[in-house]
Symmetry: C2
Subunit: 222 residues, 2 copies
DNA sequence: CGGGCGATTGAATTACATCAAATTTCGTGG
DNA sequence: CCACGAAATTTGATGTAATTCAATCGCCCG
């Protein structure tokens, strides 16, 4: 995972208070500063001390682990409204980088951990369980689905998280998708073109995917 | 995922109190009844209402999800001292079955959820984060490791959880290992024999693995 | 209007799956 | 204690989905 040419890092610092509406029920109030990142910047490294927690205001973040020889596995993508970087132990179990241009809310870890009553802890528990559920889905996909099914699932899930727009804007490149799905960039590319040939999707440029037949796509997920 | 001949289900019910020492720091006190299972019995099904939580007293439990066409992915194995089946939502996101003969502690969900102060919630948070960490390891393994590396990781991890005995007793059969590692039973079998040929391991019967060269095995995990 | 990087396409290779026996293990009953 | 039989595992032959290697294409930015 290559060094990239870094544009001027637009590191704005402004005090901010944000209400994150966790799906359905809870609201998570976080107090901190915003910070801006250009694409491909490190937010924190694997094994780094976990002093802050983060919440995506705009853009997308990837969390990942790497093997000694450089093979990379993306564990999750975080989208606007998602919180990440919360740890129980002293340091981060995975690295995190901006996928594209990103603005994050950065809060001190201590401000989150302690709040007298257990309200915050309960929210964090809910959050952790959501992450676990997604990770289990991911395990199922990597362990038992074909390349074709993986890509279909990916588009499907992304569309679901973005509230099912007919057309979605991929924040990440093909390599990121490959590293998330446990495939190579070539296989991902081929699968996209096959989907397009079959009429499942329609690409406009390389980042915009129009889901022509969303039901057929879901059906492909097996 | 065959129906199995069920021996007389030794369903003993005895009131029990158990202290689970969570690694290092916390202790989790659970009050409930014990229940016995023979190999291959359902503890709960995917989508079933989550009325109880469970803790392994002896034996091993597998949690899993299945695709519509029957492909199965094992998400985790639970060993003595492990707690499982805790949910935030109303029902279980995965099925759970006994791997071999098992005794579980079964506690009512309500007894766990509420305890005035947030002590229990904090323990559950720690537990969820542990599960998440393991699931992330699993994603890395399924997404980016070869069959050989997967089997090595599996033996390695199992040995670590069993406090690194020189010789370990596999509670699960080859099919379970395959369904955990996203492989076929044949590939798992071939890999075991190759490891044995190379002198990495020595099998005694089909369940006992002697780790002849544990360091070489760890090195194989990449 | 180039130029460069990301993406696509093609050909050859391979790791793992599939299909099909043969063999071993281990519980059971004699 | 030993023989039997079903089930689990191993082994072998073959097939194939996905990877690897190698150009080429085309989108997007300056």
């Amino acid at each position: 995972m290559p060094a990239r040419s870094i544009k001027s890092p637009p590191t704005i610092k402004t005090p901010v208070v944000i209400d994150h509406s966790s799906p359905e029920i809870d609201r998570l109030r976080l107090v901190g500063m915003t910070r801006g990142y250009v694409g491909g910047q490190e937010v924190f490294g694997e094994g780094e001390r976990a002093n802050n927690v983060y919440s995506v205001i705009s853009g997308a973040v990837r969390s990942f682990r790497v093997l000694a020889d450089g093979r990379r596995q993306i564990l999750d993508f975080y989208l606007p409204g998602d919180m990440f970087g919360v740890e129980i132990g002293p340091d981060h179990g995975a690295g995190a980088e901006s996928v594209d241009d990103v603005v994050l809310l950065v809060a001190r870890r201590l401000l989150v951990a302690d709040d007298g009553d257990g309200a915050m802890t309960r929210r964090l528990l809910r959050l952790a369980k959501d992450d676990l559920r997604r990770s289990h889905d991911h395990v199922l996909t990597l362990g038992r689905r074909t390349a074709c099914e993986r890509v279909a699932s990916f588009l499907n899930d992304l569309a679901a998280r973005l509230e099912r727009p007919r057309s979605l804007d991929l924040p990440m490149g093909r390599q990121d998708i490959a590293d998330y799905l446990g495939l190579t960039i070539e296989t991902v590319s081929r699968t996209f073109t096959r989907f397009q040939t079959i009429g499942l999707i329609q690409m406009h440029g390389r980042r915009t995917v129009e889901l022509s037949r969303p039901n057929a796509l879901s059906a492909l997920c097996a």
